[in-house]
Assembly symmetry: C2
Homo-oligomer: 332 residues x 2
């Protein structure tokens, strides 16, 4: 039996950081999702209410990728009381040809963070104006940082604003990003994000908000919005009217955004029909459908997170780890 | 973050072999399934037809167990052409309290083999006559051997017969078992299993048969049958009429045997109704329902394999591995 490579989060942080190859790999995954017979079974969900715990298991097979990922994502919301993180988990990579387990990534969610940010870069690459230079990031967590970093890979970003409900966290996030990226990053105070988004070229919402934090009437011609926070029925970052106000609405997976994303709330509000057809990011990346077609369009991309992204990043991580000779090999 | 313990198949084979504690643990899992609010989500299934591959992911949370298992079982049926086993996979154990991954068992299906055999012992303990001494095993594979070994733990077995379509494999299996268990084990030749089951006290069917290999009119008063081969819609070891001929039919999980087990074929044949009530093994083990109530009854237990057995064996394996100081600890 071939060996299994076991890779820790520390190993992965050395091998996998946001770069163009990762963005291209995630783009290839979206193209496959839109153009190939991808097999993506429904998410397996186990609830343990006694401990406020839940576990999601996701998987997707993408023709053309040598492996497929199975991701186990537990969330146990009393963990912080025990000094432990709420969210952790691991990803495994199995050979598409033999089903043998090739690698176990003990990543505590790190690969998910990176593939989620890379999807933001893919969205901006096809939907933001070529000359987009001012970014507004709503939220001040891990994704706020990674999404701005992702934007700098694909657009000439020279200025960014950070808005978050917690002004202190916004300031700390802005300082950190300014140092790390070497561009002007400012925290925007205020009870809402209006000032932060006014005049921005790209807006990224990265929060777990359950009530909209981005209003439709704030949007200006030429802006692009990526909403990546909503990955569950109860989450909602963007006012439903913004879907109608946008000239182009794009989903990572329409099947998912209709159920989990911003589109879900627009349908519930009667602003979109539940059988209404919209573009998917993969079809735009593949060139089958048009992305931004004029300077003045408002575009909006709704990201809920897909299993094909996990398969793509796990495959890439495995080849990089093998090349670097990192990880630990186990014979079974 | 606490360490993750990684345990190979070789480690497990040293720590986990069929014994009374394992049988008791699997019995406790069945009792829990029948009496507690177990959470057992539907099996996640991914098909990769290009490579004749399939992957099943199973999980179950059992109140009272400190951990819960997630099991990944790939089957890729062209693997033997590449010199690789068709079936492999791994099991992971997560803490029921925190969701943190505690252990990864790179077992290639070994823990499944053991927990499946232990279920046979639980069935015989509650359904076979106390003085059952002659066993007939149909099939000559891994489970044929383990099921006979399991029977010897709970009943005074002094003689066994092995029948299989392939007479050579049956002979080799009988020789091996005779040596290992120190009892008389004979291969029974012949086109069918009639001679093997005639006069036997316990019959265990352990094959992937898709057409019945055990006929209803062969059954004699006082016999117990455990049918453990059928775990999918197309598998069928026992003639449907045998379900009607048995005085007591018992399922590991009625929800599963109605869909996947021998009961499924009896329902399809119109011999059982699809809403007909039958006993579950856990209710009998718990004492809520009666098991065998007379010497002359014919009993039949239909085992399809349940996620609670995986959770039980993974929890036990983890505590034994910790006690033995085996496995390899990884900090993440």
């Amino acid at each position: 039996m071939p060996d299994i490579t076991i890779v820790t989060e520390a190993d992965l942080r050395k091998t996998i950081t946001l770069d163009h190859e990762i963005v291209d790999t995630i783009e290839a995954a979206f193209v496959a999702l839109a153009t190939k017979p991808v097999a993506m079974p429904p998410i397996m969900r186990l609830d343990i209410p006694e401990h406020r715990g839940e576990v999601d298991v996701k998987s997707a097979y993408v023709p053309g990728f040598s492996g497929f990922a199975i991701k186990v994502s537990p969330g146990f919301f009393d963990n912080p009381k025990l000094g432990l993180p709420s969210v952790n988990g691991l990803m495994m990579l199995l050979s598409s040809t033999t089903g043998l387990v090739e690698a176990l990534f003990l990543d505590n969610g790190y690969l998910t963070d990176v593939r989620t940010a890379a999807a933001g870069a893919v969205a901006a690459r096809h939907l933001a104006r070529e000359d987009a230079s001012v970014a507004a990031i709503l939220g001040a967590g891990v994704q706020a940082k990674l999404q701005l970093e992702a934007l700098t890979l694909v657009r000439p970003i020279r200025e960014a604003r950070i808005w978050a409900r917690n002004a202190e966290k916004a300031s700390a996030c802005a300082r950190d990003l300014s140092e790390r990226l070497g561009i002007k990053v400012e925290a925007m105070p205020g009870p809402d994000a209006k000032e932060a988004v006014t005049g921005a070229d790209v807006i990224v919402t990265t929060t777990p908000a359950e009530l909209p934090i981005l209003r439709a009437d704030w949007l200006e011609p030429g802006q692009h919005v990526t909403a990546m926070g909503s990955d569950a029925e109860h989450k909602n970052e963007v006012e439903p009217a913004a879907i109608a106000r946008a000239d182009l609405y794009v989903a990572d997976s329409l099947a998912q955004t209709r159920r989990l994303g911003e589109l879900h709330h627009a349908i519930a509000a009667g602003i979109a029909a539940d059988d209404q057809s919209f573009a998917e990011l993969g079809a735009i990346a593949a060139g089958t459908l048009a992305g931004r077609s004029s300077e003045g369009q408002i575009t909006l991309c709704d990201l809920t997170g897909t299993g094909v992204q996990d398969t793509a990043i796990a495959t890439l991580a495995f080849s990089r780890v093998a090349r670097a000779g990192s990880g630990t090999k186990f014979s079974t």
